[in-house]
């Protein structure tokens, strides 16, 4: 098992219980979608994994290393293996695309090397290769704030991949994008995970997108896991468990339609 979460609990100083004894396992190479209403604790869950948010209780293990027990230097080393992708891209706006991409290597280079932007040659080569892979090689020297939303998210993805991660933590990657770009970004993430054998936890509130791109779906409600199963098994009852009562008939993609689409593709 790549990632093992046991009894993870987070209570904020305000008293809000964001996560309530969450148990979750993610095998290597699995792309998992985490769905749930706003405030269900999706963001908190992935931030507790790389400890941008400190969990109140529980254990998180990545590849046998207990993240929750690490000191700050060891935690920084462990964070290198977890790439993070953000909703609002979270690029450093005033730095160039290349600098943003190379910032994925910060955990591997010393302070002065990074201050003077002296990165190892293979890092720069890898940066060019990945930028080319996502179709942004010509933008390398542009400032990040000159890019469109979809382009920025691609840079965000490349930054995460530069870390040479085993796991991607993806926080609402499409929430600021239009439907077409959303699909392109989701497809890119899933493809890259397959190419590199990465596992991913993708927080997403668009149920249709989650079903389209993830094999496994986990539903979170009020800090507890209320659904965990393959995408095909996500039915109206499960969505009611996760989000509450609503007419779900139009949201779920019926299995037959999928088969027809597959046949049409053939």
């Amino acid at each position: 098992m790549l990632l093992t979460i046991e009894g993870l609990t987070k209570r904020y100083p305000t008293g809000d219980l964001a996560l309530d004894k969450v148990d979750l396992q993610v095998p290597a190479g699995q792309v998992m979608a985490l769905i749930g209403p706003s405030g269900a604790g999706k963001s908190t869950l992935i931030r507790c994994v790389n400890r941008l948010v400190e969990p109140s209780a529980g254990r998180v293990q990545l590849d046998g290393v207990e993240l929750t027990a690490l000191g700050s230097a060891a935690l920084r080393r462990a964070r290198r293996r977890m790439g993070m992708i953000f909703q609002e891209y979270a690029l450093v706006e005033r730095l160039t695309v290349m600098e943003n991409v190379l910032s994925g290597r910060l955990g591997y280079v010393g302070f002065w090397a990074s201050w003077f932007r002296r990165f190892p040659r293979k890092d720069v080569e890898e940066a060019f290769r990945l930028l080319d892979r996502v179709g942004l090689a010509h933008m390398a020297d542009k400032r990040a704030d000159a890019l469109s939303g979809g382009q920025r998210q691609r840079v965000g993805i490349v930054r995460a991949l530069m870390q040479d991660p085993k796991l991607l933590l993806v926080d609402e990657p499409t929430a600021s994008l239009d439907p077409k770009t959303s699909r392109q970004i989701m497809r890119l993430i899933v493809e890259l995970c397959a190419e590199r054998g990465l596992a991913a936890i993708i927080n997403i509130h668009d149920v249709a997108l989650a079903q389209q791109f993830a094999r496994r779906i986990v539903g979170l409600r009020a800090g507890r896991i209320v659904f965990d199963g393959p995408a095909e098994e996500l039915r109206a009852e499960a969505l009611t468990d996760i989000y509450g009562e609503e007419d779900w008939s139009q949201t779920i993609r019926p299995a037959e339609e999928e088969d027809e689409a597959a046949e049409a593709a053939l």
Binding site: N50, R79, F86, E88, E93, R94, G107, S114
Partner: protein
């Protein structure tokens, strides 16, 4: 703010209740009465004959100031250069000390909110609360007259100014960019250099040239207390009632300030 019920039972809305309205009007009345009373008080202590005489006196002074004595300018280039140097070196010194103070004071970068931050905030307030002319007065007594006193006076006043504006800028940065760089496994100094410094660069450039611009103007008066610069010449000229020379100094100061204003606008524009 005030939901009322009309006689026929339908709801009505006004900004204030009638009672609150009355209070507001009473407040205005009180303010006007106080102003009139104060004017009366000041008027009683003013020698009006002098005030009525002011236009004549003013016209007389202006007449004696013109034409400016342009030949005096040849003696002013050196003090003018001193003034610019005092402002520039003083500002540079203030940046050198003020920038680290700003990072120690901002609540998102300070090493300790309980210990370091309050101490630094006190230093900033202390520096800001004393005008550079007063710093100069004190420093001239300690160091003797000259440019050094002027440079330090400018620096001591500017440290607080630069540190305060910069730490406010640091506190207003976008925290998700910081989060993103932290998530890569970067160390704290790396997060500072890669996520925080780029975000505050425009503010830093703006604050620095703005303070330099202010310091050029402040440095022109430091000479009045003996801390070097063109103010010394102004003091000397006023003492001997050489008004045409004073006019020449005014014109030179005005030109210098115009140039510094233009320069700082250019710098601010360049670093956005």
């Amino acid at each position: 703010m005030a939901l009322l019920t009309r006689a026929d039972g339908t709801p009505d809305w006004r900004r204030r209740t009638p009672k609150a309205d009355l209070l507001v009007w009473a407040g205005w009345l009180g303010a006007v009465a106080l102003t009139v009373a104060c004017f009366q008080f000041i008027s009683d202590r003013t020698i009006w004959a002098f005030v009525w005489d002011a236009p004549t006196q003013g016209a007389d002074l202006v007449a004696r100031m013109f034409p400016p004595r342009w030949s005096y300018a040849s003696q002013l280039w050196k003090p003018l250069l001193d003034t610019i140097n005092i402002a520039t070196i003083g500002t540079a010194l203030a940046i050198l000390i003020g920038v680290p103070l700003a990072f120690l004071a901002a609540h998102n970068t300070t090493p300790s909110r309980l210990l370091v931050r309050p101490v630094v905030l006190f230093v900033i307030v202390a520096s800001r609360s004393i005008n550079s002319l007063i710093w100069a007065l004190i420093l001239v007594i300690i160091l003797g007259p000259g440019m050094l006193a002027g440079i330090l006076a400018i620096a001591l006043r500017s440290i607080g100014f630069i540190a305060k504006l910069l730490y406010e800028a640091i506190e207003e940065i976008d925290s998700t960019q910081v989060e993103a760089v932290t998530a890569t496994g970067a160390s704290r100094p790396q997060v500072l250099g890669w996520a925080i410094v780029p975000q505050v660069m425009p503010a830093f450039a703006g604050i620095s040239v703005f303070r330099w611009d202010i310091n050029i103007r402040e440095a022109t008066v430091l000479g009045l207390v003996g801390a070097g610069g063109i103010g010394m010449q102004m003091q000397a000229s006023i003492n001997v009632l050489a008004w045409p020379q004073v006019t020449t100094i005014f014109v030179l100061i005005l030109a210098t300030v115009l140039v510094s204003e233009w320069l700082s606008a250019r710098v601010r524009h360049a670093v956005i």
